[in-house]
């Protein structure tokens, strides 16, 4: 729910366990309690996409949770996050954008112990775009009101045996018909690629093809469409900067264009799903003009990256809790 800080403060004092998103000053004005938060002033609310430096988006941890544990993680212990998670449950993680832990998680998460076996989702905190370079994205541990620029904060929620967390994504992008792109070296910054097996300088290839870099690279991971978005092309250095790492051994294609985000989103929205949490990407918010538009039933922070097991870009992530 999108609320005034005083309302959230009251909920915290009454013992609510919350995932919060707001500007840093707002988060740090809240009382101590069982909450974690990340900085961001962009939100998808019940009444549409909003930019606000004053309000808070609060998502209660799943009401079915039998216990919750808040933990902070640094670059050296983030690899244990799934191992630390309850056998049956869901873990929410917030990482500050552009930090070492963001990079560490992005590049190594697929190989973390128990990854995929235990549901892990969350988001990358950010700042107002006017504040880029002046303020750092942060996460906040509500128990101590400590803000971190280089650590992540997580809340592990245990679920009863008859409940299971189903994670999903809504990704409007799919691989186009063009060449297969592979990357001998993984990472957020790429120089070379193989285009249908032929080595090229990636920036030259993109510039020659006049590629619309608002469209991501897409890898079809056995049905899970994983995007990697373009941050920019540094043609003088022959480098392409990305918002998520590419992985060697994975086939990517440039995405097909999407005509109308809202129309396609409505088509892809899972029916009869009650999302316990969702978040959407700042690039979708910007490129598809989501301010003022309603993404039916899917509300939450607008983020600098989404986490559904691994780091994603230009994707809406959600989780629902189902009885089995």
């Amino acid at each position: 729910m999108f609320s005034h800080p005083s309302d959230i403060a009251q909920r915290i004092r009454s013992g609510a366990r919350l995932l919060l998103a707001a500007e840093e000053e707002v988060l740090l004005s809240l009382p101590q309690g069982d909450w974690i938060g990340g900085t961001i002033p962009y939100f998808m609310t019940e009444t549409g996409g909003v930019v606000s430096r004053e309000m808070v988006f609060a998502t209660p941890v799943p009401e079915q949770s039998t216990s919750v544990e808040i933990r902070t993680y640094g670059p050296t212990d983030i690899a244990s996050i799934c191992k630390d998670a309850p056998e049956n449950g869901v873990t929410f993680l917030i990482l500050p954008a552009s930090s070492q832990i963001h990079l560490e998680f992005a590049q190594k998460a697929p190989d973390f112990q128990d990854m995929y076996l235990k549901p892990l989702l969350g988001w990358i905190s950010g700042v107002h775009l006017d504040d880029l370079g002046r303020k750092l994205p942060k996460v906040v541990d509500g128990r101590t009101l400590s803000a971190h620029t280089s650590a992540g904060v997580a809340i592990h929620c245990a679920l009863p045996a008859n409940q299971v967390a189903r994670m999903g994504i809504v990704n409007l992008f799919s691989p186009g018909e063009g060449e297969v792109l592979t990357f001998p070296d993984g990472g957020f910054q790429v120089d070379r690629c193989l285009v249908d097996g032929v080595e090229r300088v990636f920036s030259d290839y993109l510039l020659e093809r006049k590629v619309d870099t608002r469209l991501p690279l897409v890898a079809d991971c056995s049905g899970a469409m994983v995007n990697v978005s373009f941050q920019g092309i540094d043609s003088s250095r022959g480098l392409v900067n990305l918002y998520a790492p590419v992985f060697p051994g994975t086939d990517y294609r440039l995405a097909k264009p999407v005509d109308d985000y809202m129309v396609e989103f409505a088509k892809m929205l899972p029916k009869d799903t009650h999302a316990a949490f969702s978040c959407n990407c700042i690039l979708n918010f910007l490129y598809s003009g989501l301010e003022g538009k309603i993404t039916d039933g899917m509300t939450g922070p607008v983020t600098f990256g989404e986490i559904a097991c691994q780091l994603l870009n230009q994707t809406m992530v959600y989780v629902s809790i189902e009885t089995v």
């Binding site: 697929p110 190989d111 990854m115 995929y116 076996l117 549901p119 299971v164 189903r166 994670m167 999903g168 994504i169 890898a219 079809d220 991971c221 056995s222 049905g223 899970a224 994983v226 992985f247 060697p248 051994g249 994975t250 559904a308 097991c309 691994q310 189902e322 089995v324």
Partner: protein
């Protein structure tokens, strides 16, 4: 009931000789991670066995919410 690890379809899935587009998103990521590992590290028996173990563990845990996927894979 999820078939045991000796079912040949597991090997086909992780070797990429049988492909399936999973409806359950983390299942696709799990299989994809193992496909990538085998592609990069080669199809050594221990790598393939680890991959089968990983996918079988996932299927066993999430059987209640991936019946459509399991039916498509194992019949």
């Amino acid at each position: 009931m999820v078939p045991g690890k000796s079912h040949p379809r597991y090997r086909e899935l992780v070797m990429g000789t049988f492909s399936h587009s999973f409806r359950l998103m983390p299942a696709g990521m799990c299989v994809s991670r193992n496909l990538r590992a085998i592609k990069l590290e080669g199809g050594r028996p221990e790598i393939v066995e680890n991959a089968i173990e990983d996918v079988h563990a996932f299927f066993s845990k999430y059987e209640p919410i991936m019946s459509d996927d399991l039916k498509a894979i194992f019949g």
